[in-house]
Amino acid sequence: MREKTTARKIQKLLDKLVENPQDTETRLALGKLYFLDSQFEEAVGCYRKLLEVEPRNVSGYYNLAVALTAQKKMEEAKEAFQKVLELDPDNKGAQEELAKLVSFR
């Protein structure tokens, strides 16, 4: 039941993007839906497309970084978090996540 609901939600957002591919808000929401559904590859693809339209979108980079972390692509995740901090140096979330990625446990 939950899978159908998620699939429906995803389809709704995809339909919206067909009408307006430049809609970054919808694309961000779609990326997060994919992420929550553990479709990390699709989430990453979504965020990358968003960043083509809005290359300075902090949320886009942040969510991309977390999705890359989920895929264990740590070097790419680090780069994405660093990009967040370039655009928003006071971003506490990115500071903490980046520190976690580089710290030795």
Binding site: K32, D37, A43, S59, N63, V66, A70, F104, R105
Partner: protein, 234 residues
Amino acid sequence: MADGTPNRFLVLGAGRFGSNVAITLSKHGCEVTVVDSDKDRIQQISDYVANAVQLDATDEKALKSIGIEGVDVAIVSIGERMEDSILATMALKEMGIKTVVAKAVTESHGRILARVGADKVVFPERDMAVRLANALLHPSLLDHVEVSPGYNIAEFEAPKTLSGKSIAESAVRAKYGVQIIAIKRRRPSLNAEGESVLEEEVDLIPNAETVINRGETLLVIGKEEEVRKFRSLR
């Protein structure tokens, strides 16, 4: 505490090691008193602990004056001068502090601390160096603890060959002689700001029907050789 868990701590030395111990204990709700002779260090840590006092940690009278007799555990982390940590350890034991943990810089320093009464001696640099070396030699190994000679708990990413199989199907114990004691997962979620986050979940003592998924981390206990063989599965 009523259940025997220590709750009142004294930390002598607010350097890197001491301050991190103090702050971590404080975050867990413990009452922590930090002592250091350096005013700046005391100022820096005072926001994070119950009490931060500038005084000479080797001065028994001065320590008595701040009322530390009820302390459960004292941690001596004076690193700059070995004699200071030795004197402080002796003073604390003479004052009747039940448990004194002392940080040692060298093996001989550690032996002296043990001789003057330290209940436990820790070697943070040595121990961290060993862990780092092990991690560099075995990149898939996230952590490793010796339970007793020849028996380890190790933490590493689940082998791909077990992905999608339950613990029962994997027959981990029968085939490899190790026991999975926990599985760590990172669950995708959104934080309060609506941004993506991976929340860590721990499935402790997972039952036989629990499925092992790709990317999950296993905590495994067993004989050293068997843990090593299990870890080398692809």
